[in-house]
Symmetry: C2
Subunit: 205 residues, 2 copies
Amino acid sequence: MTFARRTYHHGDLRRSLVEAAEGLLEERGAAGLSLREVAKRAGVSHAAPYRHFHDKAALLDAIAQAGFERLSERVREAWDGNPCDPRTQLREAGVAYVCWATERPERTRLMMGGMMREDPLCTCLHAAAEDAFQWIFRVIDEGRSAGVFGGPDTRSVVISAWSAVHGLAMLILNSGKVSAETPEEVARLAALVCDTVADGIQIRH
Amino acid sequence: MTFARRTYHHGDLRRSLVEAAEGLLEERGAAGLSLREVAKRAGVSHAAPYRHFHDKAALLDAIAQAGFERLSERVREAWDGNPCDPRTQLREAGVAYVCWATERPERTRLMMGGMMREDPLCTCLHAAAEDAFQWIFRVIDEGRSAGVFGGPDTRSVVISAWSAVHGLAMLILNSGKVSAETPEEVARLAALVCDTVADGIQIRH
DNA sequence: ACCTGAACACCGTTCAAGT
DNA sequence: ACCTGAACACCGTTCAAGT
């Protein structure tokens, strides 16, 4: 990738640290990730990361934030790809959400495991999460405007739909009771859960 | 509670350790819980806990297991309290699940945060979790037998219902986007989500 | 400006030794 | 049988010092 360092200065240490941390995260989980090991893998001393991140939490925040941006992108694609079809939009957005989450177990645990409940130091992380969740809101809102979905109010329906999608991802990841070995099986379950919710919020004629 | 120790022998150190750990858990979370601090609060040396637990994970497992037993009890009560009424059973079981979980944030994060994905050393933990989840299965199975609920098969319907209930609890706990400050608000949202699922799986006449 | 090396206060875990 | 105290190998974080 890059030829031997000529000085003790690193080219782009911040990026190298994030990449090393992402690798270590999927290998050992957030609890087993040590900043010293990250620094070692990036080829610097254990104190060097503090030039780029205030502390360990700040590095994990950066990884979580990048995760929300990518998840957001995937859900947006499902929205874009199925215009004027709220039921399919809901199913495809849900499938994208659950597939993305289950493909990256440790990253998802980091993002969804309650790291966001801390001090509002990192507004960027909250903004990235907000943006990802925004697309689910739009799917429901558009469906209600089109007269396909009903329910008492948009917020209530969003909570129901998002709970089902998010819950399925968490159960596959953490419960050990909902087995979905292949990506196809994950997608099948996600579609099933989304269709059940769609049946529950659909206006009947 | 107990009068001064006469010897360096502790009366029931195992129990004391669990209680100290439970307190520390809700105060600082699983990541901030140290075995040395638990030992200090129980009034023993930092090596003493190893007489009763193989390692830190074993202590956390014991706490998680007790949690599943209590959660199971609450869901079972909802089942018992509403015989021959699957729709109400589902709603009340869901409300019990979400309320219990949100009342004990750190304990629930410990139980549901992926601790169970480890080696099958602790069969007791898995059995306790299995038992808790069993009641949701029964609610759906009974509802399908009674001709109230439909769906392709019981397993699929259970996954949809459990996903919605579990997902709501996780979103309230971890997302920072679904706010439910009071127990009443939590119960209202849980009932709403359960009713949406019930609408989705109900057989229509 | 960017990184190093030593230092500090913590960890989990082990083990010989005490009662 | 049950607990202690010292010891080991790790942590995260800080900071004077180097280039």
